[in-house]
């Protein structure tokens, strides 16, 4: 469960308002898609959710833990995949996974199971002892996603997770999204791929110039528009103002 209450964030001493009075709840078991044009405030929101940025005002609660007041407990139940896979290039894939397993305190048996499973699914098993430096962009993205899955988090937050993935890996990642939320866990991700959001998300939020301009199920969003067009049409219409 994720709760944002009146969250605002500005840059340049208040001159640029990146997120403006955002209130939003993502329920357990829900895949929430976060859409918006470039510079709308998606990444800023995500960075505030995972504690990388501090909101100027408002409150963010993840699984009952206030991100500002109880950061370690919030982090313990959350994992994050950034929009660019900046990982420790000098470690091997397995060393990185071990590091994440250690810092999240993942028990050995679960660690072995999950690492084995996701390395196979993402076809990383043959290269896991090689330095991450030798991986392609897509492979780095996969190792970051594998690391995010390793702790079995209650909440996963992903910024453009499908960028750079091949169609097979993208398909598997989408399957994982569903599997994750079917266990009653929460998933929040940003994307520019309308089809993915339309097919996969239980609810969708559209942010524009820092404000949440629409939020709901696909049916609810369609009801906003008499033409009942596709998500792409709705998105273009809403963000054209």
């Amino acid at each position: 469960m994720i709760e944002l209450t009146s969250v605002s964030k500005s840059y340049n001493r208040g001159k640029v308002k990146a997120v403006d009075d955002l209130t939003l709840t993502v329920k357990p078991g829900e895949i929430f898609g976060f859409l918006g044009p470039n510079g709308a405030g998606k990444t800023t929101t995500i960075k505030m959710l995972v504690g990388l940025l501090r909101p100027d005002t408002g409150r963010i609660v993840v699984e009952g833990f206030d991100v500002a007041k109880d950061p370690l407990k919030a982090k313990q139940v959350t994992t994050y995949v950034p929009d660019y896979p900046a990982v420790y290039e000098r470690l091997t894939g397995l060393e990185y996974l071990n590091f994440i397993g250690d810092v999240y305190g993942v028990p050995r048996a679960e660690r072995l199971d999950r690492i084995g499973k996701w390395l196979e699914i993402f076809e990383l098993a043959p290269v896991v002892t090689n330095p991450i430096q030798s991986y392609s962009h897509g492979m780095k993205q996969k190792i970051v996603v594998t690391a995010a899955l390793l702790p079995g988090p209650r909440v996963m937050i992903l910024d453009e997770p499908l960028v750079g993935l091949d169609p097979r890996a993208a398909h598997q990642l989408k399957e994982m999204f569903r599997e994750h939320c079917d266990q009653g866990k929460t998933l929040f991700f940003s994307t520019h791929v309308m089809e993915v959001a339309e097919k996969l998300c239980d609810r969708i939020g559209i942010i524009h110039k820092g404000r949440l301009i629409a939020c709901g199920t696909m049916d609810e969003l369609k009801a906003l528009d008499r033409a009942e067009q596709s998500l792409e049409g709705i998105f273009l219409e809403l963000t054209d103002k």
């Binding site: 990388l52 501090r54 407990k73 959350t78 397993g101 810092v103 028990p107 072995l112 030798s134």
Partner: protein
Amino acid sequence: MSAADENGGVGGSGRLGLLLTVIRAGLRSNFGLAVLKHRLLKEKKDRWLVPVFALAAVGVLPTLYGVVLLIKHAYLLLAPMGQERALLSLGVLAGQLLVLIFGIYYVISAFYFSRDLEFLIPLPLKPSEVMLSKFAIIMINEYLTVMALVLPVVITYGVMAKGGMGYWVNAVLVYLALPIIPLAVVSVLVVAMMRFINVSRKKDILILVGSILLITASLGIQFAAGRAPAKEMNGQAIADLIASPNSLLNRVGAKFPPSIWATKAVAGGFSGEGLANLALLLGVSLAFFAGMIVLAEKLFYRGLVGLGETTGKKRRLTRDEMSRRVSSGRRAVAAVFGREWKIMNRTPIFLLNGTFVVVLVPVLFIVTARPGVSLWGAAIPKLLAAANPLYSILAVALFMTICGSLNGTSSSTFSREGAQFWISRVIPVAPREQAAAKFLHSYLVAMLGVVTASIVGELVLHLKAVHLAVAAGLALVSGVLLTAVGMIIDLARPLLDWTNPQKAIKQNLNVLLAMLADIGILTAAFFGVKALIKTKLAANVVLGVLFVGLAALAALSYRILLRFADKRYPEIDT
């Protein structure tokens, strides 16, 4: 449409313009002037640096004044013998040797490890032009590096010798040409080395070994050059000096003739001798430069392209192997420590500037601390044997502290994480625990320096075991203080947006600030001990008070570091 345009290329003057644009962009991004201006004037973040630097500048003034007095004194001694030009030669030679040593670091990192190369290579530029854009950055770095060494000599000499317009004009030209020959030599060696290394799979190890060999070779040259005057500082040598004008100059310059040409060019001014030597120096510099460009055109990209790519054998682990390699759950501090250790030691630039330095300094001391090799070779063991045991313990403790703590390991510990710092921000490990793990890593490197220096103490200085142990104890406790201070400075303004690992450690302002702070702390400790000795306390009491004082400061600084980590981590933008 010109012929060049038809061919899809850029004409001669266009090429020069293009090259200048690339050089300008490189200088801007490398020296971060736009960023600094923005941070100082717009965001007002780094304003506190202004008084710090003003203070540092004021602190340096007495030293500079001392150096100028020394040069003046040497000039007055040498002038009656007709040997004053040797001063200029020594200055120039020292400057060029410094260019050589720093050049190896600069060249390897700028030519091969700058991330912007990924953007430069696809541009319609020749390999030599890409290399030139990097060369320009290194030249500026070198001018700044040798400034403190060369300018006091040239300026003091000019004032003492009442140099005319010819002196000053030639001095400027010589200063501008100074780094070209050594840097071209280093560039050619490095480019050739990388061409060979890039075909191998073990690139990192070869880069490391190659760099160590080049550094050792350049230091070897330095000591060979510095050896003659040191060995022969006796009556006979002085008699030789008087007997033939310019003999000292020739002897110094024989090791590296361009320093003679530079000396004669500057001292000769607009005379025939001055102009001829200036032409010789500039001509040879140009020839070296041209040779480097020709070689760059042929070899640079072959050593560069694909360097960052590492291939690994594809091999699936068996279930047993995987089971063995998946850790069974270390504590978070151990995990962060392991990460620090691996990344530092597997990144050649970090290893060369951190761990390698703490071993290099004591080893250099061993190599040079022999009579006939350096002045201190003969003097130090005698001084230590003759001195009050208290002084020898303090001197050795200072040496150990310098070996262990005066390097960039602690003061770049946060900066080294660079773009990966987001990981440290999102993992559920308290900042104080992460700082503790980083402290352990930096302190271990400092301890390595202290241990190596202890071995030197035993092998070269033949100290009594008990004295050595007391000195090591003092160095270890002051190591805690200096490590924590270095980390606090880096944590205050970590440099995370680097594109070249060299920037995180070697060109990181935090490393310089931490060294200034360390020198300040050691100076304060020096005056504290001096005051204690004046009170005529017993040696053991002085040492005891010093140890307790340092230990208290060490504990305090460590506590401040942990608290500061808790405060700072959430504030650092990634």
